[in-house]
């Protein structure tokens, strides 16, 4: 399952860090963050609960970049 989320982040490197953090979250198969369009595409592992996983993704992203937001 794939979903796209709007995000807000100020710098391109921070977007890269968010991408890494999202990829490392359990339940996420793959993730790409596009800084230019301010979007995060997340591909979930099979059977993963998207909502719960995204909460973790948000938490992990906040850890690497305090000043970011994912609009869930």
């Amino acid at each position: 399952m794939k979903k796209t989320y709007k995000i807000d982040v100020d710098c391109a490197n921070c977007a890269n860090k968010m991408e890494e953090a999202a990829k490392a979250t359990t339940g996420v198969k793959d993730a790409t963050v596009n800084f230019m369009t301010l979007k995060m595409n997340v591909e979930f592992e099979e059977g993963a609960d998207a909502k719960a996983v995204m909460q973790d993704v948000l938490k992990n992203c906040k850890k690497v970049e305090d000043d970011c937001e994912i609009f869930l």
């Binding site: 796209t4 710098c11 790409t32 230019m36 369009t37 595409n41």
Partner: protein, 642 residues
């Protein structure tokens, strides 16, 4: 500027003014060192409090090597060494750079979304004689919607009332308006210019052209190019490497001087150099300018009616050396047209080839009229082309006793004459002596009352720009042009000769096309890529097999939008060369930025190490390079004159 940016701007101004005042005051009256320190702390905190906070949070979250941390260490270090002014200035310029970057990115985001501003906000429907605005999502198939002059067509449909001209430039980049009248299909996303139109919708909003294109544009550039991946990997190693380098620079040379050379350690000098290292170490310039270049390139291309589905495709497109074409619908128009009427006076073997819109003689007109009337009940593409060439309204009452013979043609009585119109098989069947045409194409022979009257040549027209497009491709460095077609060899060779393609493979089944393309993929040069151009209708397997699949004339063909990597919105083959040139320009800018930014940074690092450059140089290497790289990246947006 948004709120956040305005706030930063205010802080920058306040800090800059304070810095200048303190600087002047310091040179006029002598201030004790401790007081000067306190004075400088004011602008420092005004400009840098958020950076310091973020750096602290980063340390808490064990995310040491981010630019906030680097800036915090460098500036605190400089202040600790007594270089108050430099410490504050580094922070100030860093913030100016960040503000500029955020403004430039925001601006280009808006620019590009303006270019593709085709999303309709509402649809007008008529209820009880009253016009009502509704959400396009709620309009069902078959509803009649009203589009007033100046409004966007929200949903695909067929015109049921009114005529007007449409501006399709947002979709195709084509500035000549398109005329539409009752019965014609019309695609969403166009802007109605002149008259009121009533349209019966044929699709839901979500399935309409405008939604599909918006979806495609919004999801473009989610596929990252090799350059972008290279840069994020580079940033990943570069920053820590420079930090350790700075640490080594601060500790090793003084130790060596002290222990082995018997010189004074000069800790202050080396720590200052190490701090300058940290200022340079921020990878911002690279990390922002590369995706920005691609984004601008994709945006500029879409304004020209070329949709690129991701920055990786822009990269592949730039390396194209071989372009493979499907004939029908790509080089030719894919619609049949009468291109010659050859009466009995036309001697065998020397039929004239006419291009453009010829003027026919009375005899030829008569021939066309007979053919069109005889075939007036048929909807076969050949018959349609005859009717279209005739141009006037057909009086069906003049035709009786129509007899259609499958695979042969039609025999009918027109104005009392027995007219036979069809291929050579029909002539043989009717035992009429006929003459073959010297031109290639589909031939409709005509016999009136059992006597041969001549033939009409029908062929697929070559697109007006096809030959120019091939030349443009050759000029832009594509040296191998190949045409693949399922058509017979004679037709294929003629078309290829006319447009200037030398390599032709004809009589291919769809599966053969794939194997031909695979052969080309195996024999291509190192690092060059193969592009395939098709109209997307039955080319999906080939489109997905090649390096870059380009679909033409996407308006109306969903399959093309799905299967291709690059979509040309209109039918113009000249856009292929343009797309390649746009991609080349974009890639050139990307490489310029990579080389420039990395080069300047390495140079500055070297100069700092040997003690030539100071912290001001470090600020230039960081902020200056970023500003230049961002401005250069925005150049990728301007592709109109390519």
């Amino acid at each position: 500027m948004n709120k956040k940016q305005k706030k930063v701007l205010k802080r920058i101004i306040v800090a800059a003014v304070l810095l200048v005042i303190i600087g002047i005051a310091g040179s006029v009256v002598s201030i004790p060192k401790w007081l000067e320190f306190l004075f400088y702390l004011v602008p420092y905190f005004v400009i840098g409090y958020d950076i310091l906070r973020k750096a602290w949070k980063g340390i808490c979250n064990r995310q040491m090597f981010d630019e906030n941390f680097l800036m915090a260490v460098a500036t605190i270090g400089a202040i600790a060494l007594g270089d108050y002014k430099e410490g504050v200035a580094v922070m100030l310029f860093y913030q100016i750079g960040e503000l500029f970057q955020s403004y430039a990115v925001g601006k280009s985001r808006r620019n590009i979304s303006d270019l593709m501003d085709i999303r309709p906000d509402y649809a007008n429907i008529e209820t009880d004689g009253q016009m009502e605005k509704v959400d396009p999502d709620e309009v069902e198939i078959g509803t009649v919607i009203i589009v007033q002059p100046g409004e966007k067509v929200p949903i695909d449909g067929v015109v049921v009332e009114g005529h007007s001209s449409l501006n399709t430039s947002a979709l195709t980049g084509e500035s000549v308006p398109r005329e539409v009248a009752v019965g014609e299909e019309i695609i969403s996303g166009c802007i109605n210019i002149s008259g009121l139109l009533k349209i019966r919708t044929t699709k839901e909003f979500g399935e309409s052209t405008v939604s599909k294109i918006l979806d495609l544009v919004e999801n473009a550039s989610s596929k990252k190019s090799r350059s972008e991946n290279f840069i994020s990997r580079f940033a990943h190693y570069y920053t820590p490497a420079v930090c350790y380098g700075a640490l080594a620079l601060a500790i090793l040379p003084p130790l060596v001087r002290m222990l082995f050379m018997g010189l004074p350690a000069d800790w202050g000098i080396w720590i200052y150099r190490a701090l300058t290292f940290l200022v340079i170490s921020c990878p911002c310039a690279l990390v922002i300018s590369i995706p920005l270049s691609f984004f601008a390139g994709i945006g500029g291309a879409s304004a020209e009616g070329v949709l690129v589905k991701g920055s990786n495709y822009l990269e592949t497109l730039a390396g194209t050396r071989t372009v493979v074409f499907d004939k029908t619908g790509t080089i030719t128009q894919g619609v049949f047209e009468v291109c010659g009427i050859h009466g009995t006076n036309c001697a065998s073997g020397s039929c004239p080839v006419v291009s453009g819109h010829p003027v026919y003689t009375k005899e030829e007109e008569q021939l066309l009229e007979y053919a069109a009337l005889a075939e007036c009940h048929s909807t076969h593409p050949i018959s349609v082309s005859l009717q279209k060439a005739y141009g006037r309204k057909l009086d069906v009452d003049r035709v009786t006793d129509v007899q259609e013979i499958g695979g042969h043609g039609v025999i009918a009585t027109v104005d009392g004459h027995r007219v036979a119109a069809g291929n050579d098989k029909l002539m043989k069947k009717e035992k009429i002596a006929y003459r073959n045409c010297s031109c290639t194409g589909t031939i409709v022979h005509l016999a009136v009352d059992g006597v041969y009257a001549g033939h009409i040549l029908i062929s697929d027209m070559i697109k007006p720009n096809a030959a120019a497009a091939m030349q443009a491709l050759k000029n832009s460095g594509v040296h191998r042009l190949v045409m693949l077609t399922g058509d017979d060899d004679r037709v294929a060779q003629q078309v290829a000769g006319e447009v200037g393609i030398t390599e032709v493979h004809s009589q291919l089944l769809p599966a053969d096309k794939v194997s031909e393309v695979e052969k080309l993929l195996r024999t291509r040069e190192e690092k060059s890529t193969v592009a395939f151009v098709g109209d997307g209708i039955n080319d999906a397997p080939v489109l997905s097999r090649v390096d870059v699949g380009i679909a033409m004339g996407a308006l109306g063909s969903d399959a093309a939008i799905e299967a291709a990597d690059v979509v040309l919105m209109d039918d113009d083959p000249l856009k292929i060369a343009k797309a390649i040139r746009i991609a080349r320009k974009c890639l050139r800018i990307v490489y310029e930025n990579i080389c420039f930014a990395i080069g300047i940074k390495l140079l500055c690092l070297f100069l700092v190490t040997i003690g030539i450059a100071n912290m001001w140089m470090g600020i230039f290497a960081d902020v200056g390079v970023m500003v230049i790289a961002v401005l250069n990246a925005i150049r990728a947006l301007f592709v109109k004159k390519l």
